[in-house]
Amino acid sequence: MSYHWHWGVFLEQAARNRTYLDWLCSGAWITLALGLVSWTIALGLGTVLGVLRTLPSRFWSGLAVGYVDLFRSVPLLVQLFIWYFVLPELLPHGDTIKQLPPWLQQAGAAVLCLGTFTAARVCEQVRSGIAALPRDLENAGLALGLTRAETYRHVLLPVSFRLLVPPLTSELLNVFKNSAVASTIGLLDLAAQGRQLLDYTAQPYESFIAVTLLYLAINVAVMLLMRWVEQRWRIPGYIGGK
């Protein structure tokens, strides 16, 4: 088999004043931005849901259970298409949404989709983190005269988050991996740039190896960052804290 390797292809002109390498980099930035914004939504919403899930009220915990069931039982791709194609049709101001620039519609749908999807998973992690704490912590907080909200805010959440760094790290890695789905609605993220590179350069191996390596690089960078966070935050005396 003779495949003509040509790594110099990335330095060739793709369009006016832009090389294929520029395409690759812009894809990587979009993937990073998409992942980080979605993660912010997921962490915020997921924490709220996780707290609701641990409240004694049947209503609130049931609401969180329903949310998790819904968002974990529909494939991510279907959720994305519903955000992108269906919601603008059903919302009262859908026409205003449809007049936005296409990239904004795509990015908005992708961020909301990834954020709400990941929130369901963050919720389960936060719930199990809070449930794993000794019951005395909550009782002590309440006995000291803190309200339930204050107990969560000052006692339960700070302690459980420091223990939750490793599982949340893997959810963060998942966000970046799942973000590749956004390429299906036309967002030019890393995966989409890979396809585009393949079509334009006809060098499938160079294009795909480069994209795969960039995903690996994002993965490794996130892991190193989170390892540093974990070391700073670990609680002495716990098993995870060695």
Partner: protein, 227 residues
């Protein structure tokens, strides 16, 4: 203004097409679960092996597949690997390799995830069990097969099944290769009839009902196995 829903696209004929799509989704899921668990068990035992090269090889495989998005893995298998196969095997240009590529891609990808579940399951069996089997005169292979793996399997069965549900949902990603699975068919019909909203909601509801029922069953099983 309320959206004028019109579900007339879901007639007998289209439901049949959707049924065929669902059969394809389930076929991909089934094959990937079986091969994934088989290859995953092998990978897990390699990772727990005392031979360093085997351990590194399995760890490298698992970490690589777990670090790349499934979409990328599928694109590799749809866009790059078939060209390679076609060139090396001199296949006629019209051979449809998409289904084969999908089956191979999902099996190899899922094996990485299954192997982690299985490795954790094996490690959760108390060490004394292996020592006892060896003391009874069993070989390492016998004690694995007759003592360790049956116990490990019992513990990890719920996790393996949950992973199968996740995999079933992930098969919708064959959309990137235009392979007509359940989701692909639903989207295709919706686009053709101008009824994307109805068809996407129908597809979502179908997945929702199937997966919620399946995970409730897994939960019940987990409670039984847990004791």
């Amino acid at each position: 203004m309320a959206y004028p829903f019109d579900f007339s696209s879901l007639d007998r004929r289209n439901l049949e097409i959707l049924g065929e799509g669902m059969a394809l989704s389930l076929e991909i899921t089934g094959v990937a679960v079986v091969i994934g668990i088989g290859w995953g068990t092998l990978l897990a035992t390699m990772r727990l092996s005392s031979r360093r090269p085997l351990r590194w090889l399995a760890a490298g495989y698992v970490n690589l597949f777990r670090a790349i998005p499934l979409v990328m893995v599928l694109l590799w298998f749809f866009l790059v690997v078939p060209r390679l196969l076609q060139r090396t095997l001199h296949l006629p240009a019209d051979t449809d390799l998409r289904l084969v590529s999908a089956l191979v891609a999902f099996s190899l990808f899922e094996a990485a995830y299954y192997s982690e579940i299985i490795r954790a399951g094996i490690q959760a069996v108390p060490k004394g069990q292996l020592a006892a089997s060896l003391a009874l005169g069993m070989t390492y292979g016998q004690s694995m097969r007759l003592v360790i793996l049956p116990q490990a399997l019992r513990h990890m069965l719920p996790l393996l099944l949950t992973q199968a549900i996740v995999l079933f949902q992930d098969t919708s990603l064959v959309y990137v290769s235009a392979l007509a699975d359940f989701f692909g068919q639903a989207y295709g019909i919706g686009e053709r009839d101008g009824r994307i909203v109805e068809l996407l909601l129908f597809a979502g509801a179908t997945y929702l009902v199937m997966c919620v029922i399946a995970s409730r069953m897994v939960q019940r099983l987990a409670r039984r196995v847990g004791r």
